[in-house]
Structures are given as C-alpha cells and as structure tokens.
C-alpha cells in the first residue's frame, strides 16, 4: 500500500467535504521508550479520531506525553503498538520514502523554537518543503513568496531569521508549513517563545487558516489559547483524561 495525498482543494478553491471520514484515526496507539534498563510508557494505549477541519488543542503538563502524541500523528516517530490510519491508510505499513512523502504533503509543522535554518533567507526557508518534492526552483520561489504574502511578510523575504523578530520568525515558519497546502497543521506550543501580543497575532493567523479549511492540532498549556479552539484534549501521564 502506498500513500497518496488526496487533492486538497476543489476547483472553487474549497476543501472537498468528506466530513464523515476521519482524517486521523488512532486505535490503541502507545509509545514506550527504553531509558537505560527502564521502560517508560510515554503514551498509554490511546484511541483518538480527528476529522478534517477540526481545531484541536492538546493540553497537559510537560512530560505528559502530548508531544509524543503529536510526533506520532505527524509521522515523525513510529508508535510502539496500535494502529494509525491517516486518510484510511495504515501508517505502519508505509516505507521510509512514503513516510517522508506523507510529512511533506499532509502536514505542516510549527515549533515553539521556530526551527528556521539560520543561514537561509525567509523565502529560502519557506521553500524548503518544496525542494523535497522536486518542485523546480523558480516555482519554489514563487510559491514561497505567495506563502509569505499569506502571513504578511512578503517584504521580509530576503531577510535572515536573525534579522526578524520572534513573531516574524514564527510567521515564516507558518508560511513554510503552508507552502505545500497540507491538510493538517501541527503546532507544538507555537506561542511559547513569544510575547503576548505577537502570540495573539500568531493565534489569529492559525485560526484564520483553520477557517480556510486546514485542520489545526495545537499543543499548549495556556487555557486562554485552548479555549479559542473547538476541541480540547487533556493528557496526563500518557493518558487522555478529558476530550471535549
């Protein structure tokens, strides 16, 4: 079985409505780490289903397993057991190349520490995902410019990350997450390193993207932020203790 991303937008520029089908479906997913001689259960067997277009916050203390859950959903780490269906395709059956393709096509990642390449300009950073799906160079730059425009940074395209404020850096990271038009945006405490004003702006941007149809899954420990999302999942000690 191989992974094929479904066409994201229809002719009218809207997401095709397939609300019935779960975009992400986890059944009995768990993660166990080996720490020396000790086995640590980072995530107890968990069932979870997320539909297209949802906005989900994952709350929990540090070490609760929320980042582990996000990494498994984002195909960044394999689960120890259980079944993960991404658009009805079993992730555990994917080859390395198909996993890479899934990360490239289906997900846009946003991190607390931005993870921009320091020696590349904003537009080069944004274009990076396009490099890995073989987009020709000129098209890459054009699409990256478009994405920068969406986050309001079109006039900062040739700046290095160090020349941008934290909020601007996170916008660049969001543009990078958007550039391949992924269905799902995974954000790991996207406002954690920002002051409240830029944090607010970033949240507004992410919610706007959710309204446009991108599924938003966001880790936070800020209840004010989680209140702005439709669904809230609370994790403690590797277990989902609350799902609203």
């Amino acid at each position: 079985m191989s992974y094929h991303a479904l066409p994201l937008l229809n002719k009218e520029g809207e997401f095709p409505v397939v609300k019935k089908m779960a975009l992400i479906s986890l059944t009995g997913i768990s993660k166990t780490y080996q720490m020396g001689a000790v086995l640590v259960d980072a995530l107890c067997p968990t069932d979870l289903s997320i539909k297209q277009g949802e906005s989900v916050s994952i709350m929990g203390r540090s070490g609760s397993g929320k980042t582990t859950l996000l990494h498994i959903m984002g195909c960044l780490a394999p689960a120890t057991s259980g079944e993960y269906l991404l658009e009805d395709v079993s992730v555990s059956s994917l080859s390395d190349l198909e996993m890479a393709k899934a990360r490239n096509q289906s997900f846009g990642f946003i991190f607390q520490t931005f993870h921009l390449l320091p020696r590349q300009t904003a537009v080069q950073n944004v274009a990076l995902p396009l490099f890995y799906n073989g987009t020709p160079k000129e098209e890459r730059i054009a699409k990256a410019q478009d994405a920068l425009q969406q986050v309001g940074l079109e006039n900062r395209a040739n700046h290095l990350p160090a020349e941008l404020s934290g909020g601007q850096q996170q916008r660049v990271a969001i543009a990078r997450a958007l550039v391949n038009r992924p269905k799902i945006i995974l954000a790991d405490e996207p406002t954690g390193n920002l002051d409240s004003k830029s944090g607010d702006e970033i949240m507004n941007l992410l919610l706007e993207l959710n309204h446009k149809g991108h599924t938003l899954i966001l880790i936070t420990h800020d209840t004010d932020i989680s209140k702005r999302l439709k669904r809230e999942i609370m994790i403690a000690d590797g277990k989902v203790i609350h799902d609203r």
């Binding site: 990494h71 960044l76 780490a77 890479a100 393709k101 990360r103």
Partner: protein, 404 residues
C-alpha cells in the same frame, strides 16, 4: 537537485573557512604530493630517454669484454679479440638496411699553430655520422675514398674547432695529429654533452688511417650497429653474437649492449619511484580522508536539529544521506582542486631547482596524473563521507528535532 545540493554544500564550507581549510589540508597535501613528485620523476624520465635517443636510437654496440685471469688462461690462443675483420664479417652477413661502423680510438696531441690539446681521436667510417645522429655543420663528413686511400683527413666537433681555430674558418686548413699532418674537411654541428661525454670535442679520422698511423694493429674499440627497425633489435643482436662466437672460436670476449634496454631500465626505475610515490600519496589521502570523516561526524552532531527539521518537512533518509555525502565530496573536491594547483606550482618550482642541478631536467605534469589526483580526491570524499552521512540519515526525526 544534486547540483543545487552541491552548491549549497560549497556555500556551507565557505561559512566555516578555517575549519574547512584545515580539513581540506590532508587532501590538498596528498594530491599536491602526487602531482608535484610525479612531475619531477616524469621530467627525469623524459630527460633520460631523450638523452638516450640523442645518442642514436636502435643502436647495438659491440665492445671487447675484459676477461678474468682464469678466462684469459683458458682462452689463450683461441681468440684475437675484436678486430676489423669482425666488422667486415658482420657487414657481409646482416641485411643492408642496417648500418655498421667500426670504431678505433687513440689519445693524441692535436696541434694548430701554437694551440695544443690532448684529445681522444676516433677512427670511423662514413656511416658513423648517421649512426651517432651527428649533423654536418660545414664541409663534409668522411667518405669511403678516405677510408680506402688511408687519407689524412679529419672532421672536428664544434668546440674543439673553436679551441684550435678561434672564429676563423678551419675548412681546408691543416692540423697536426701526433706527428702527422691532417687536412680539416668538415665541421660537425653542435650536439651537446651527455653522461660526461662532450660530443662537441669529437675528432674523427678514417678508421684505416688511425690503425695504420697510430695503433699499428686492427683492434677495435667497438662496432656500432644501427638496426633499421626497433623490433629487429633482438634478432640482429643474436645474429652478431653468433657470428662473433664462431669467429672467436667460441670465446665470448665481447659484450653487445642495447640502447633499447637502457630505455627499459630507466622506465623500470621510474616505475619503482611511482609505486613509492603512489604509496606515500595514498597515506596522505588516507589521513585527509580521516580528517574529512571526523569533521563530517562533528557536523552531523552539530546539525542534528537541522536534520530533524529537514525530515519533518519531507526529507527522506536517502535525501539526508545524499546531502551529507555531497558535502563531504564537496570538501574533498575543493581539496583536490587546490591540491592540483599547489602540486602544479610545486612541480614547477621543483622543476626549476632540478634544472639548475641538471641541465635538461624539467617538471613534466602529465594530464593523467592530474585526472587521477582529482578522482582520488572525490573517491576519498565518498569513502570517508559515507559513514557520517549514513549516521545522519538514521536519525529519528522526532528525537533529532528535540536536540536543540
């Protein structure tokens, strides 16, 4: 995509100039050593071969062999040594295409006016000029009627002619060889010196004249044969050996030396040098490769989070492997190119020094050694970059991302 990755790798190297430079050093030294040293060895070879060719190519020379006391006792009365009659026998039994000359010699005082030199005078035939690659500068060389008529004529090398006559024209003038008066009939064109023999000090007279006037016997210093084709050298050599053995009653009191063999000896020596150089260069490149591997491992560790991010946005393991492999190849390629430049310059410098020591010894940089050096450098980059690149590609994306 590979080209783009390569260019990115180069700009990465440029960001860390000191570190990259130090890492490159091993490869630079290895490649530069191969190119500069082999250029000197090649230059030496070219010089030696050209010297040998200057002596005349396809030459066989037959010389009397000094016998041990034991051999002398055993062979007494059986052979009379290398004589003019042996020359005649050789000429009659080998194909006309090959040229032969006897050589007799005597050390004589040569006088012109109040100028006086002691020289080795050679008695030869007219074929000698072509056999020894001489060219006539003025007048003529010896003719067969000089030989038949025991004529007292002499042909002089350029330098000895200048010593005797200064800038004046010597043709038709006479000189004294020992107690006899000779007429100068020709001057040889300049030929230079080789192996301690100055060819411009040559004095030649007909062989018959020398035997009659000065030697008093028909013993020869040597018989020189110019074989018309290189591949016939062995065959002609065997034939001459057979004729002489028969004439000398089975006594092998002569040796036949082969110019071709000399060239082959030189090539053998050069090959030995090249093997030694190759080994040294391989060691230098090994050290260079270890340097590259070391720095690439450091780079992978330093850039773990970058690798995680690249994987998160869609880089497959293979793409990461390729990226790091290309970076190490870029390192070694730059090292190789610098090595070629440095090696060429060094080779030129060594060549200049060698030329001061021995005239005619220049650096010869073979395109093949440049190409070889270049591809070896690339090979080192691949061989020593493979493990670090593999290590990078095996990182788990989730853990790599956390390594900030």
């Amino acid at each position: 995509m590979i080209v783009e990755t390569f260019l990115n790798a180069l700009s990465n190297l440029a960001l860390n100039k000191l570190r990259s430079g130090l890492t490159l050093m091993g490869v630079v030294i290895g490649v530069a050593a191969v190119i500069s040293m082999s250029s000197i060895v090649e230059g030496g070879k070219a010089m030696t071969v050209s010297m040998i060719e200057k002596l005349g190519t396809n030459l066989l020379s037959v010389r009397p062999k000094t016998l041990t006391e034991e051999e002398q006792r055993a062979f007494t009365g059986r052979s009379k040594g290398l004589r003019y009659a042996d020359y005649n026998a050789i000429v009659q039994s080998i194909a006309v295409a090959h040229q032969v000359t006897p050589v007799t010699s005597a050390r004589l005082q040569i006088k012109q006016g109040d100028r006086n030199e002691s020289v080795m005078v050679e008695g030869v035939l007219q074929t000698y000029m072509e056999i020894q690659n001489y060219e006539i500068g003025q007048g003529r060389f010896l003719l067969s009627e000089d030989e038949i008529g025991f004529k007292k004529v002499v042909v002089l090398g350029k330098e000895i002619a200048e010593k005797l006559f200064g800038t004046g024209d010597p043709i038709g003038r006479d000189i004294k060889l020992g107690d006899h008066r000779f007429i100068v009939v020709g001057l040889l064109a300049e030929k230079g010196a080789l192996h301690g023999i100055n060819y411009d000090m040559t004095v030649v007279i007909p062989a018959t004249t020398l035997m009659k006037l000065f030697a008093g016997n028909d013993l020869l210093t040597s018989i020189i044969v110019k074989v018309d084709e290189r591949k016939k050298m062995k065959q002609v050599s065997h034939k001459i050996s057979a004729i002489l053995l028969q004439r000398h009653d089975g006594v092998k009191d002569f040796v036949i030396r082969n110019q071709d063999q000399l060239v082959r000896n030189v090539e053998m020596i050069v090959f030995t040098f090249q093997v030694i150089l190759g080994g040294t260069a391989a060691l230098a490149l090994l050290v260079g490769g270890i340097g590259i591997m070391n720095i690439m491992l450091v780079s992978v560790t330093e850039r773990t989070s970058e690798i995680g991010l690249r994987m998160a946005v869609g880089a497959s393991r293979q793409a990461i492997l390729t990226q790091f492999l290309i970076e190490s190849v870029a390192l070694s390629t730059v090292g190789g190119v610098i090595g070629i430049l440095v090696g060429t310059l060094l080779g030129g410098g060594f060549g200049w020094l060698a030329n001061r020591a021995i005239d005619g010894w220049n650096a010869v940089i073979l395109p093949s050694s440049v190409v070889l050096g270049f591809f070896f450098a690339i090979g080192v980059g691949v061989a020593f970059g493979l493990y670090p690149a593999y290590k990078a590609s095996r990182l788990a994306p989730a853990e790599a991302l956390r390594s900030d």
